[in-house]
């Protein structure tokens, strides 16, 4: 559930970011790209610590959020979503950016000569052409968010019904009720295999 919301969040922010990285030539593009991919190489627990430092109740931005809106992210469901999105975003951005780079920009030029504004070009030409890349990226992103453990437990904790995700539940169950842990693990395994099988079909049908 939180994985799906996190994927949605990644789509909303990741696709424009990927477009920006692929099509706009700006200073510091390499730095931005490096920052986007950092969560990919960072141990998730370290990512969670980083999130706590920035958005924690006494963090750099968290203090301000708390004071201005009474908003606290750590140890809430929103915090789980944020932690998952943080870790899963690179999968989407890299996949979409790759698709954008492979797409022929001359189609966009053709659309422009037909009177289409930049937004129309993106919505009616670019997006449909990179759709396989977006779908693949979103599925990878979703799968990563689903399996997220380190950043979630560090940033959002493990409160049943509030911030407890499947992997956290499995870890906990393993200590108290090993049978339940096995069942939960099997469910996760089945879901992952189903998603990857679907993704593979998508790849095969578009290539």
């Amino acid at each position: 559930m939180t994985a799906t919301i996190a994927t949605g969040l990644c789509l909303v922010f990741g696709v424009p970011l990927a477009w920006f990285l692929a099509r706009v030539d700006f200073r510091g593009r390499r730095l931005v790209r490096a920052l986007v991919t950092v969560p990919l190489v960072l141990p998730p627990v370290v990512g969670g610590v980083a999130l706590l430092l920035v958005l924690g109740r006494n963090g750099l931005a968290g203090r301000w959020l708390d004071a201005a809106f009474g908003l606290t992210l750590p140890f809430t469901t929103a915090g789980v979503v944020l932690a998952e999105a943080f870790v899963a975003m690179p999968f989407l951005v890299i996949s979409v950016e790759g698709a954008l780079r492979a797409a022929d920009p001359r189609y966009e030029e053709a659309a422009a000569t037909l009177g289409a504004s930049r937004w129309t070009v993106f919505r009616r030409v670019t997006l449909p052409m990179i759709m396989p890349g977006v779908v693949a990226g979103a599925v990878l992103c979703w799968a990563r968010a689903l399996g997220e453990f380190g950043a979630t437990i560090t940033f959002a904790g493990n409160f049943p019904g509030k911030t407890q995700t499947m992997p956290l539940a499995v870890y906990l169950a393993l200590e108290t009720d090993p049978d339940a842990a096995i069942v939960l693990s099997l469910v996760l395994l089945a879901v992952s295999v189903a998603v990857l099988a679907l993704l593979r079909d998508r790849w095969v049908s578009t290539s």
Binding site: D104, R106, Y107, E109, A110, A111, A112, T113, L114, G115, A116, S117, T120, R124, V125, P128, M129
Partner: protein, 343 residues
């Protein structure tokens, strides 16, 4: 109401600089070798390549300050660039829709244009399922459906096979005749240019080297490129009365010309002999055969010597005269078959 423009585009060491005026209803073909800047000129007109300097004006209104989507242009790209995820109908409807027409209205306009290019039956097909000729016609319909003032065609027939090309060329000619705006077409095929255009503009190295009607260009080429294009031998020399003095020899001509002059004659006007012919025609010299190649039903003989020239002879003559590379032959051209004109 007419189009007039001066395009200056700098690209590293290459500089495109051409000025031209095109009347409504007129079709101008930009002709030139690869890398001459033809496509750059077309992209600059469409707004896809920024101008370094110059202007584009239609009916007194500046177009060069507008982004591509605001210019009254329709463009047919060399590879058509039909949107692969849309049907033929939706491809054509894309332009009207982007210009603010309703979904139904733009589809009606698109259906009308598909019918005009004879593809009403293929409206639902994706571009991947259309033949080359059909895709070309969809691309033309898509460009015309936005009701442009300026139609730009980039090598519109280059991607077609010989047979389809013939058919599409005459169809394209009819559509261009009906089009009320100005048309600028880029091509490297002289036949396309001569059939489709009212006026040819030859570009080499980013500048205009010759412009005129198709017949004028074909009769009086001014550069080696144009001469090769229209299949003529071309030389530059100094005219005095009915003769033009070249570097190595003087050619007698039918036309009277004074000062710097061009002489042109077709390869078919060149006669070859193994021994010095009697009756001594006035233009006679001894040349060496450089090479032979098939040219239509005839053999084209490339000659070097005092004058580089091409001669067309029948296969029978090649056999009878034993024409082989390296052989020495006598070359003659009748004065009445040459054309001389001021350079």
């Amino acid at each position: 109401m007419s189009l007039d423009f001066r395009l200056v585009v700098d690209r590293g060491a290459f500089r495109l600089d051409l000025a031209l005026a095109v009347a409504p209803g007129e079709v101008v073909a930009l002709l030139g070798p690869n890398g001459a800047g033809k496509s750059t000129a077309l992209r600059a007109l469409a707004g896809l390549t920024p101008l370094t300097d110059g202007h584009i004006r239609w009916d007194g209104r500046d177009l060069h300050t507008l982004p591509p989507e605001s210019r009254p242009t329709g463009m047919v790209f060399q590879e058509y660039l039909l949107f692969p995820h849309l049907s033929a109908l939706d491809n054509v409807a894309f332009g009207p829709r982007s210009h603010g027409a309703s979904r139904a209205g733009s589809r009606r306009t698109a259906a009308l244009w598909l019918e005009r290019v004879g593809l009403a039956g293929q409206a639902g097909e994706r571009p991947g399922r259309l033949s080359g000729g059909q895709a070309q016609r969809v691309a033309l319909a898509r460009a015309l459906a936005v009701d442009p003032s300026l139609l730009l065609l980039d090598e519109p027939l280059a991607a077609l096979d010989a047979h389809t090309r013939l058919e599409i060329r005459s169809a394209l000619r009819r559509h261009l005749a009906d089009f009320p705006g100005a048309t600028v077409m880029v091509t490297h095929d002289p036949l396309d240019a001569m059939v489709l255009a009212d006026r040819l503009v030859v570009i080499e190295g980013g500048t205009i080297v010759q412009e005129g009607g198709p017949a004028e260009i074909a009769r009086r080429p001014r550069t080696d490129y144009v001469a090769r294009l229209v299949g003529l031998n071309l030389y530059r020399g100094t005219g005095s009365d009915r003769a033009v003095k070249l570097e190595a020899l003087t050619l007698a001509t039918a036309d009277r010309v004074e000062g710097p002059a061009h002489v042109a004659f077709p390869p078919s006007a060149v006669a070859l002999y193994r021994t010095r012919p009697d009756g001594s025609p006035r233009n006679l010299w001894e040349g060496v055969i450089d090479g032979l190649e098939q040219h239509g039903d005839n053999i084209r003989v490339r000659l070097t010597g005092p004058l580089d020239a091409a001669a067309d002879v029948t296969p029978a003559a090649v056999a009878a005269l034993d024409l082989t590379p390296g052989a020495r032959v006598w070359v003659s051209v009748k004065a009445t078959e040459t054309r001389a004109y001021p350079a």
